[in-house]
Structure formats: structure tokens, C-alpha cells
Symmetry: D2
Amino acid sequence: MEPGATAAQIGTVILTIQKFGGTPHTLHNDNRTVIAGIGLSEAIEPGMFTKMVGVERVSGIHQPYKLASREIKTESTVINVEGAAIGGETVIIIAGPCSVESRQQLLETAWAVKEAGAKILRGGAFKPRTSPYSFQGLGLKGLELLAEAREATGLPVITEAMTPEMVPLVAEYADILQIGARNMQNYGLLHAVGRIQKPVMLKRGMMSDVQELLMAAEYILSGGNYQVMLCERGIRTFNKMTRNTFDLAVIPLLKQLTHLPVIADPSHATGRWDLIAPMSRAAIAAGADGLMVEVHPRPEEALSDGPQSLKPERFARMMTSLQQVAQAVGRSL
Amino acid sequence: MEPGATAAQIGTVILTIQKFGGTPHTLHNDNRTVIAGIGLSEAIEPGMFTKMVGVERVSGIHQPYKLASREIKTESTVINVEGAAIGGETVIIIAGPCSVESRQQLLETAWAVKEAGAKILRGGAFKPRTSPYSFQGLGLKGLELLAEAREATGLPVITEAMTPEMVPLVAEYADILQIGARNMQNYGLLHAVGRIQKPVMLKRGMMSDVQELLMAAEYILSGGNYQVMLCERGIRTFNKMTRNTFDLAVIPLLKQLTHLPVIADPSHATGRWDLIAPMSRAAIAAGADGLMVEVHPRPEEALSDGPQSLKPERFARMMTSLQQVAQAVGRSL
Amino acid sequence: MEPGATAAQIGTVILTIQKFGGTPHTLHNDNRTVIAGIGLSEAIEPGMFTKMVGVERVSGIHQPYKLASREIKTESTVINVEGAAIGGETVIIIAGPCSVESRQQLLETAWAVKEAGAKILRGGAFKPRTSPYSFQGLGLKGLELLAEAREATGLPVITEAMTPEMVPLVAEYADILQIGARNMQNYGLLHAVGRIQKPVMLKRGMMSDVQELLMAAEYILSGGNYQVMLCERGIRTFNKMTRNTFDLAVIPLLKQLTHLPVIADPSHATGRWDLIAPMSRAAIAAGADGLMVEVHPRPEEALSDGPQSLKPERFARMMTSLQQVAQAVGRSL
Amino acid sequence: MEPGATAAQIGTVILTIQKFGGTPHTLHNDNRTVIAGIGLSEAIEPGMFTKMVGVERVSGIHQPYKLASREIKTESTVINVEGAAIGGETVIIIAGPCSVESRQQLLETAWAVKEAGAKILRGGAFKPRTSPYSFQGLGLKGLELLAEAREATGLPVITEAMTPEMVPLVAEYADILQIGARNMQNYGLLHAVGRIQKPVMLKRGMMSDVQELLMAAEYILSGGNYQVMLCERGIRTFNKMTRNTFDLAVIPLLKQLTHLPVIADPSHATGRWDLIAPMSRAAIAAGADGLMVEVHPRPEEALSDGPQSLKPERFARMMTSLQQVAQAVGRSL
């Protein structure tokens, strides 16, 4: 639409899209309202829209992911979470334990990562585990502890939702909902988070390519939830010296293809605490909008992912060096 | 338990396992009842059970998958579905269209594959698709058509369930529930099919190793549903000349490690109709207990997976050659 | 050329190709002589050849591999090695130890595999080893022992050449030269075996796709050595339960794309002796023209590849079952 | 040996190692001479050496790569090439065209990259190509042009040697010999470059793990050539949006395991010029000692690798940003 398009003009376009069987999605880009008509038959004459008052330009989207594409929205999306602007100039650090294990463990970690400069607290309440006999997370109790840690420290929290029916409950407690790598193509779950109005972090599956990741994001966006951020967390390859292979080149690639923020998770990507600092620096240098890092006060006692968790002191030391790399690429921490 | 153990003797062992915090699972093996005490503390003295009347032997299970392991059940599991004994001497052929598209398409295919010797009809009603804008299946209508095809032809049917809440509905219509490759580690869904009493076919994820597949099966078994069959359908590798890489060596490997039946899916593994026949022969020669093959009367019009679908005539011709290979390895079709 | 083309007619075409800067290669197909003019400028008018006497038809080759393609030679190539016709109706079994270790070990194995039905003896004299400090093979002594085993048993032998300068020496002793997987794109070596007139077995690199394999074969063929057979020996993937992933679907795929014989190596593909028999059956069912299998009288004492070597008794038992599968697919052993 | 060990004391240790069948290698570390006795029987009593005069300490090396290991040499190796100290505080940039194509192309590029701050000129004279019919490099003429460019600009040059017999010739012209990814396990070639006294850059194979890379380096080191640098250039995975997958986590991993310098090659790793700048920044942030980047004045006319070549202007712009990242991690350019 033209910069000064009125509500009535916008409404007319929306109604017309609906009339012809399409689903209208309204996005903001470059001081303009952009209206995507998803599902409109290709038989429809674009000229029909061109001549409407207030319409600046009509164009098709060539990528199979429509709402996620830079074609429809050239401006980068910034997601605001309690003061943290994800996708903006500042590189946002998300940190915390893999699993919420106890009040003390969570609060101790929360205060430590906040002091070191983290902006968001992570912690798993429901844990997807390979074995049915492993620790499966504290569940509701974990969510309550996360809420308590938020109250105490002021840090917004991110935690994972694993099934569609779990989404409303998790959304009550969390500031950001995480979709885990194993669930990237769990379409029921994607539909469920597409119907809420809370930010979602979608982790790339360990076997998924860039297009599949963007199509999975499209499931959420097309449900009407436009606050989606993507997360590269390593892919599975023949190389077993690291837990996964950190596919950092997808970061600048995603920044070309989509307007959505891109986070990197060096903890799952490498699986080794001693590689977290250099790979965090590398991820920021590659253009990541944020990092998600596992921190645990006593990694050797962690109920999950101990070998890839940083101690708070190491995390704090690393933050200083990240600050320098962020500045070298024109950003701050 | 000893071969002639009484109900009271079995009951005593079960109650004792529960008393010490374990979950008892009762399996049948070699004319004996085997009772697995999952989750019993390792501190418990095995001698406690050894001296009980009717107990033949007490032993630990070393594999992380317990109920799926050949250690606990050396006898192969045979799953009976309306006359088809999956895991027995006969190699069971499952065939049908990728998606249920219409009454005519389904019935035409069902009669054709039945005549050619298939024992079970496949057909997707709910389809997991990479794009939210692709055909997602006929849904409930598809389930009804499958039921109609079963009535007409007498073939039992297998179809996919994609979310936990969908399980009871699908279980009402289908004889076997399929868990798709993308959902192999969708734990909510595995829990849901673990609570029903219908056979489940669990497809290997495209980047899952053998242990992860068996651990996923363990989620279902530990829920109390022991009718689980596994399916190799190709893994994702650098080789893109075929849709996936058919990892046939896992078939004899799985047969060593687990008592569960193993099916092979040459259609998804290769993605090319012209490789289905040789790779079906190879899968039977490698020891598969069954095959699942996509057949469509007019592949060029298929709404999904056309390039990997066989026409009914080719399917029938292939069946003759499969019969010969089955006999060469001491089985029938 | 037409079926009855004369030497003079053929010679004229050859000279014309050379005159215009091309390299002529003369192949036999379907009772005809086929002359490939490799490197002819695309600017050359095909009509120039069409009107020559004795020319039946002129056509381009679309595949990047020219001489290896089924386009130029629809008839399967059969390579005769001392009575073994590789690529014909009989599935040829090549067997023997990974490394030649001693006269006794080699002769004992050679007699055993011969008795069980193997047609060719394998044995490494020069071994490519990951570590410079591992056993590197007996070298010349190994070649002499292979020659002695051939004299004794009448079995032709295959052994590996690792460097260009080693080729003439190995060609003196061996009936077939093997190019190992690590050397599939060692172009100096490919050039060297392209200049001899002995059959060559080219193993697929563990990271190579089908087109790269055929292009590597093209290096040998374009050097003037047309006796090339290909060997699938497993690719490297994330799956580590087997040494490599046996990519059997490339066997029927290669049979479509090329006229060259295709051998399968279940020993390197799986790395586990207990999977050799089922995967050998699968390879024959998939259409392999031959198998190469490691056999060692005392695998636990082998200087290399013990865990994947069959004992002679097991090998003999396996051969019986291979015979049945070969018959099931219309071949013999 | 002790810091002030005399030549006679060192000589005695060397002779003793030889007397017992070992190969002595003399390295310098931390103001000490370290003598590695490779191939000494494990039966030899370490005490024999401990009591020799001038010996400070005797210890075993646990890694299978001995001379490449940080265990034997804790100090990082610095390789000096005409003023460029590779492995030191400065990150060394190697740049130039994929192939040497003409005098003008090479000199134009050489001056441009020198001006932008590159320290070493790259350019292929012998090119390993997938197809025997593709441009194979200018050969000797290419080497002469490289020598001319070195004379003109003062930049030392690196170029690839592909066969053992080619090594002396290439060593005459080049300052650093490159072993390509396809040849990482070409043991004849590794032996050949192990016998010269020129620096060697060993590129990681596209499906080689870290240990295989270090064992390949060990082939060169154990030949007596200690000037080896390693190069990460991407591995082959299922992800085809980039030419390879840039496995940056091996950079800090290699820096832990070995004292050899580690270079990164973003051009081959990504295959896309538009990803070179961010991935070069990432590689430096991850700890690379240098980069190798393809630059071509007219990429659209390049005879090889055009799509991944930077134009000189872009290269110069990138260098400014690399300088900033290098400083952020405590290094210079």
C-alpha cells in the first residue's frame, strides 16, 4: 500500500483477497503496510488490485515460503521481549541451564548470567529425551520456577513446548516459546504456536535444510503469529568429534533470504564447553542476531547436557570477548 | 518364570516389582512368561526375586532399550492384523497410494494391489507436508474412504496419525497406525500410541541412528502397547541421485538387536519408481519382514509422491519376482 | 557405423575426427562399431559425418561422462579375466584376505575360496593405511605370493596399485588392478591405469556421488583402457553402527546409466562379518554383477580388517545361499 | 632434553633411538630440544633414556598422531615464508585466482590482493578436475607465470602438486606446496612432500574427520618435513545450499590437538562469493591462523570456480572488516 493508505483502503484490499478465497496477512515494511494474499488463485488478474486506491504496487512472491521471505518484507523483523530487541543492532544473549533442576540452581544461574550481560533466561521445564527412562524435566513445577526467576531478576524467559495441548500452559508462563530441533516438522505443534501471540524460537532440525526451516516458519507465520525467530543449532554429519556440525554459513544465508531474526546455539552445535567461546565469537562474526548458551553452576552434576554447559565464571569471561567481536562487526552486546 | 508358572506366582512377582517402585511389563517368549521390571532401583537385590516360587531366572538388560531388546525376548514378535502375520515366515506386502485422493482412486488401487498379492492397504488421510500451502490430505473423509476400501476388499489398512489428539480417531478407522519419519521423536505422539491397543508402524527418522529408533520404540512399548513394527525408509546423506539413501544394512542389524518386525519402504528410500523393484528384491534378500510400496493408477496425476509411485501393472510384475527372492531366502510372500 | 562397415570406412571416420582435433575411441555395440569423437568442437557440422559411407547414425552424448555412458554403448560390457566373465550372466565372486600376510595365509585362503566357488582371488600387497605407523603391506613380496597363489590354484588375482609409478609393476603380477576408494579422484593414478591394457576395478570414494564415480571412470576410458568395472563399497554418513553405509540403490542406478560392470563390496560397506551374508544376498538381488568379500582363516589375527573378515567355513555356507538368490533374479553364481 | 643440552648429549639420545630400531625426530619447544623416538618397541625400558645426561624428562605420546600432537610440542609452530609468519600473532591472508589463466589475469590479481593486504599469492597451475574434458590448468606455463608474479610483487606463492613425480618441479617454483582435499589420503603424494624441505598446506578431505587429517599430516612430518599447515575447506553433507558445509568448530579443536597452523578456506567451503566476507570474519573469530580466498578480476569469465571468486574491490573492502575482527580476538592482519 502507499505510505499514507487509509484504514478503509487497506480494508478493501483485505476483503477482496478474502472474497477470492485468499488469506490476507498484514505486515509492516519500510513505512508501508504490505498485504500478502496467500492462497489466491493464480488465475486472478493482478490488475484488479493495481487499480485500487491506496495500492502502490502488486507483485508475486517467488519463494515457496511467502511470509518468511525478504521478497515480501525487506526490512528485518525486530521482536521486542521485555526490553530485549531481537533482530536489532544489539546481539541478544540468552543463557541459562539446559533443564530447570531446582529453585537454587535456577536462581543462582539466572543472577549470574544477568550480571554477565545476558538479556534472556533459558531453562527447560519439559525435556525431549531420547530415552523414556531419562529425566523428563520438572514440568509445571519448572514453569513456576522460571516465573519466579523472572520476577526476581527481571529477565524474560524462554522454554520449550513439546505438544500442541501444552502450548497454552507454556505460553502463560514463558515470554518466548521454543520449538525444539526434533519438533521442527511437528506440524500440529507449529499450528498451535501459530495461533498464539507470543514470540516463538524455531530451532532448525538436525537434518533440515534451509528451505525446510523457512517452510516450517511459514506454518507459524501463516497461522497469524509473525513473531518468529530461527535458531541454527548444528546439523548431523559424519563428523563425531563434535556433537553436531555447526553450520554457520546458514546464518548469513538466512539473513539474505528472510527478514526473521537468526539466533545461534553453540552449546548444542558443538556439545563441548571448551569450544563454546570461540564458536560464539564466530557466530557473532557471521552475523547472528543472538546466541543461546547453556550455563550451569556445577556442570558435573547437571541432569542433562553437562559436558556442554559453561560455568558462570567462564560465561562472564566469554561475554567480554563477545562484546569486542560484536563491535568489530558494527553491533553491541 | 518357569514354563508352568501359575497366575498367583506371576502376580506375586508383579506386585513385588510395583512395591519397589518399578513398572512391570509382561511378555511371552519361548513358552514362558517374562516379566520386565522397568525402573527398579539398581540397589535392589536380585536374589529377592530368584528365590520366589515359579521364577526360573533373573537377569539384567544391558541395552538402553529394554522392552525392545532381544535380550529380554529372544523370540521374534509376530503381529497379527486381520490374517496377515507380520514378523512371521511370510513377507507381508503393504501397498497403496501415498495419499487418499478420491473413492475411485483408492478402490481402484486397493483391488489392484490385492489381486497382485498385497496383504495390507496403505493410504494417507492426514499428510505431513513441508509447505503449509500443499495438499494436506482429505482428513476424516480420507479415513472414511479407507474404511470403505477395507469393507470392500477385506484388506486391513494402515494410515498415519500426526498429533496426539488425532490418535483415538485414527485408531477407530485404521488397523495399523503409522508414525512418520519426521515424528519419530515426537514424544507426545509416541506416548499417545503407547496407550492404545492397535499395532503401530514406527518409521525411522531420516537422520536417526539405530539406537534412537529403538529408544523411540521403547517409548511406545513402555506405555504398554507391545505391537510395534519398525520401518527403514532411507536416511538423508550427501547423495542426491536418490531421494534418500536406503540403509539396508540396518535390517539384519535390527533383526539381531530387537524382536520387533522390520519393514522396508523402497518408495521413500529411493524416490524413483524405476528403482523400486530391484530395491524391493534387495530388501527381502536382506531379511525384511515386509515392504511398504506406493502404488497409484496414474502417478502423473498424483497429489503427492507421483515420481516414486508404481503403476498397478508394474507392481504386479514386481510381485512375481519378489516371490522368487522370498523363496530363495526361505520365506514366502 | 553400419553392421558391415569396412576397415577403410571406419578408418576414414577416425582420421576425420583426428583432423578436426578430436580423439577417436572405437567401441563395439550390438554388432556394430561405434566411434566416439571426444573433444570435437561443437561447431562441427554433424552432417559431415552423416554422409560418409558406412555411417549409420550420428548422435551427441548428453551425459558429461561420454565413453562410460549407456547412450554410446547400450550393450553391457563384459570383461573376461581368465575364464571369469564379469558383467555377464554369472555373478562373479572375488574373495580373499584384506592383506597378503604370509604364503600360508594366502594359499590356505585361496584354496578355500576356490573350493567354495569364488572365481577371483583378492589380496592387498600395498595397503593404504590411515596411519604411517600401521602395517603397510608386504609390497613386492606380496605380489610374488599372489602370483604363486594364482599358479597353484588357477584363480586370477586382483590387487591394489596406489601410485602412478607403481602401476607397471602391479600390472605385471595382477590380472585386475584395483583403485582404492581414497584414490578415486587421484587423477595421476587414473591416467596411469588408463594407459595399460589390463582390467581395472575402480572403487567409489566414500564421499563421491554417482556422477563423480562415472567421471573418474571416464579418466581411465578416455586414456584408452576400456576394461573398467565399478565397485560400490559404502559411503560415509552419520550412521556409525556400520563402518560405512552400503548405498545399494546405486547398483540399479549405475546399471541404467553405464554399460560397465558393477561390483559390490559388503566387507568394507558394513565392516562387520555378521552382516556380510545378508548384505551379499541383498547386493545380488539389487543387480550386482559381482561381489568382493574379505575372507581370512583366522580373522582375530589379521593384520588389517579382521572384524569384517569371514572365516572360510562361513564363506562357504554363504555361497550356497547366494546361489539361490542369484537364480531368483535370473542369474547363476 | 634439558635447556642447555649439548650436541653430544642430543646425539647420544638419537643414536640410541636408532640402535633400538626407532626413527628419531628433533623438534624445538619452549627453549628445549625434544627428541621423538618413533617406532621404538614398547618393550624398551624408558628408564634407559631417563638416566642419560642432558635428558630432562621421558614421556609417551598417547595420540595416534605423534609428531603432530600438542603432547610432544606444546608451543605453536610458526612457519616463515618470505616474511609471512604463519601460525604467529598475525592472521595471514592468502589470495589469488583459482587457476592461473594468463599473465595479465595473474598479475592484475596479484597486485590487487597485495595492495589490499594479502601476504601470499595463490594460483593453480595443475588443476584436479572432476571431468577429464575440463580445463586442467596451464601446467609448467602456469608455474612460470607464478614465478614471474612473485618477482614482480614480492609475494610468495602457493600452488598445488597432484602427483609424487610432480613434487620436485612444483617445489622449484612454489614457496608453499598445496595438497588438495581429494588427495588428503594420497599416501604416495604425502610421502613425496615429506621428503622435501618446503612448507606444505594440507587440505582436509571433504569427508575426513579430524583424526584422519592429523594422521595425514603425520605422514608428511614423519618423512622429516615439519613445515606443515592444515586447511579446513568444508565437508560434504546433506546441505546443498552451500557447496560444502564449513566446519568451523574444527579450528579451535585443531588448535587444542596440534601445534600446526590452521588455515580456513571460505571460498571452497561455501562456494558462493556473497558468503565469503561473513564467513572469513567467522573463521578469524574462531581462531584461524590464516585464510585462503579466491579472487578473480572477472569472475564471470573464470575458467574454474567463478561463482565463489571475489572481485578485487570486494576483497579490499572485506579486508578492512577482517582487520577489525582480528583485533577483537587479539591479533592483527
